[in-house]
């Protein structure tokens, strides 16, 4: 979708459906379309922010891309440094094993994603051992180096994660993800559990590491200020589908989808003089097992017309590099983040 420079990841029509079963025979009576026909790509050394309400499918998309979950359909083309283009959705075990050196994940909850019985040396050294990159003294040296990179003292490497604060544990998770010098990192709400002051440190660290190691990120978060700050491009998800995708500036200042406008309008502003002016979006996220007909957003959309109730809008390129799934994307003039 974006043709600036080389692309590290290209996701095409990705689907992940969960069967809904009923009765004693566990007959399949329907599907939760957790990820439904999602298409985007991430240029090298850039960050794509993925936003949307809880349950819209962000984490499922991330795990399906990493092939932690089996995709129901679609392609995930990863441009591996060593192997070239690989479709992760169909790759065999051996290929996946090799590709996984170059793609890593950082999780929301640093407490539950680190094994409490492993020292930092074990935790951060594990990927190096598994991929036979280092052992013995060399392993210790590499871990020390990684700890320094994320701003932790190498002396701490024999300690266990519980001896560290939430922000420090997130750094441990980042060091572990960096161990194999990956090309691409998926960060799923990496700062949501952190305090404001620690969030700033972590965001700076992620940006510094991106510059230093030429990393690309898929950055999932619900905090729209954080996403704007860190992302070059942003994709908005609603009930399993992408509804808008553009570079950060255009998406925030000149949105083309009413749902994006609604999200931007909801952001609480740290400025007592401009707040209290917005119009909050009404209604609730639909049940993903039973989404509305037509445009999924129509029951909540202030611009909905008859067409929207029965015809589903496809994701279309409204302007070069700016995609939106709304029948009226090119007619509506929607408010940007500074217009509320």
């Amino acid at each position: 979708m974006v043709d600036e420079g080389r692309v590290v990841l290209k996701v095409q029509n990705l689907k992940k459906y969960y069967p809904i079963t009923a009765g004693l025979l566990r007959r399949v009576v329907g599907h939760v379309k957790a990820v439904d026909d999602v298409t985007f790509s991430i240029p090298e050394r850039t960050t794509l922010g993925l936003v949307g309400e809880s349950g819209c499918g962000k984490t499922t998309a991330a795990h399906t891309i990493m092939r932690g979950l089996e995709p129901t359909g679609g392609k995930v083309v990863f441009h591996d440094r060593q192997l070239g283009a690989v479709d992760l959705a169909t790759a065999d075990k051996d290929t996946l094993y090799q590709v996984r050196r170059n793609m890593q994940m950082v999780f929301q909850d640093p407490n539950s994603s680190l094994n409490p019985r492993m020292t930092l040396l074990d935790l951060i050294g594990e990927p190096l051992l598994v991929y036979k990159q280092a052992k013995g003294q060399e392993l210790v040296d590499r871990v020390a180096e990684l700890l320094k990179h994320v701003g932790l003292r190498p002396e701490y490497m024999r300690r266990f994660p519980h001896a560290f604060s939430g922000g420090q544990r997130q750094r441990i998770g980042i060091a572990r993800a960096l161990a194999l010098n990956p090309q691409f990192i998926v960060a799923d709400e990496p700062t949501s559990a952190l305090d404001v002051s620690i969030q700033a440190q972590t965001l700076n660290l992620l940006q510094d590491l991106q510059d230093e190691f030429s990393l690309s990120y898929l950055f999932i978060a619900h905090d729209l200020s954080v996403v704007e700050h860190i992302s070059d491009f942003v994709a908005v998800m609603y009930v399993g589908k992408l509804v808008e995708h553009a570079d950060t500036r255009r998406l925030y200042h000149n949105p083309k989808h009413p749902y994006t406008e609604a999200l931007l309008s909801s952001i609480p502003r740290p400025d007592p003089t401009t707040s209290k002016r917005r119009v909050p979006i009404t209604g609730e996220l639909p049940d993903p097992a039973n989404p509305p007909q037509g445009c999924y957003f129509h029951p909540r959309c202030p611009y909905a017309e008859a067409l929207c109730t029965h015809e589903e809008p496809p994701l279309q390129e409204v302007e070069p590099g700016h995609y939106a799934a709304c029948h009226f994307a090119d007619k509506l003039s929607l408010r940007g983040v500074n217009d509320f």
């Binding site: 309400e53 809880s54 604060s165 922000g167 420090q168 305090d195 404001v196 002051s197 620690i198 969030q199 700033a200 440190q201 965001l203 700076n204 940006q207 510094d208 619900h222 729209l224 200020s225 954080v226 704007e228 700050h229 950060t248 500036r249 925030y252 200042h253 609604a262 999200l263 309008s265 909801s266 952001i267 609480p268 502003r269 740290p270 400025d271 007592p272 003089t273 707040s275 209290k276 917005r278 909050p280 979006i281 009404t282 609730e284 996220l285 940007g336 983040v337 500074n338």
Partner: protein
Amino acid sequence: MAAKSNILEVSDLKTHFFTEQGVVPAVDGVSFQIKRGGTLGVLGESGCGKSVTGFSILRLVRPPGEIVAGQIRYYGRDTVNGDDLAQIDATSEEMRQMRGSEIAMVFQEPMTSLDPLFTVGNQIMEAILYHQDVSKAEARKIAIEMLDKVRMPQPREMIKKYPHQLSGGMRQRVMIAMALSCRPKLLIADEPTTALDVTTEAQILELMRELQEELGMAIMFITHDLGVIAEMAEEVAVMYLGKVVEQSDIESLFTDPQHPYTKALMQSIPKVGQKADGRLETIRGMVPSPRNIPTGCPFHPRCASFLQGICDTELPQLKQSKPGHWVSCFLYEDGNAGHSSTPPPAPPQSIGEG
């Protein structure tokens, strides 16, 4: 004598936890007031004592926690002299009546405060029957009215649902309905939207503002989110390590933040709509463990304006730096920095009436 203009006056409150590993001074000399029908925002990072302050007011702190000093004067019942909640037996019938009918609380995670085995209707009715002399049928009617008030779709159907059948936003609406069902004069809202999506958060904040206007209650709004505080509060108290380090009206706090911690907090968040390429400002280090509070000004190891020989030895007190704006920092004491003879370390004094 006329009724007090404040509904609550907390002065020099100290709530400590006497754990096996030592004393945790979770709340250590906190003072603030809340005006009748007004909103006080309490802002701070996790662990600074916001929730313990809320629990102390409702006398819900359990051993090993204990209120060891201070007053919590509540002017809702006796509007002239007030009642000192710190002196009422926490397990008494009087305090139980106080909770719910005078002062109610809404928590961050509604799932933990709703009983999964009972329908939401049952739970709201129970709260009503406990505090009001009404029949079951009337309680049911009030419950439906309250659910309608919090904009629950189809309240008659909703009262039959169990908590797990509702979304996070719906559950938070139920909690608010329950808290408001007995028309409290003060609502303590402890991070009521932190677990919610921005869209749902916006709805709940809007709802709380409307209900406050309609019911005239005061709100103590606890949050770590500067955006939420800007939207909800009229007055703000900024907490750090169990103490209020700055208090003022919301405009003054945002246009002229004074405490180095408040300033640093404001600079460390990305400002939406103003994307810049650079790095974010950070506060060095992290919040120290409350078992191991630094000497002098508790913020001094992280403070960019730290004055050697003063900040690390003496405790600054909350003082008025300009009308209506209070700050506890040596940079704002008379004659400013440079002197070290005064003031002697003393417990923070209570704030005069504002």
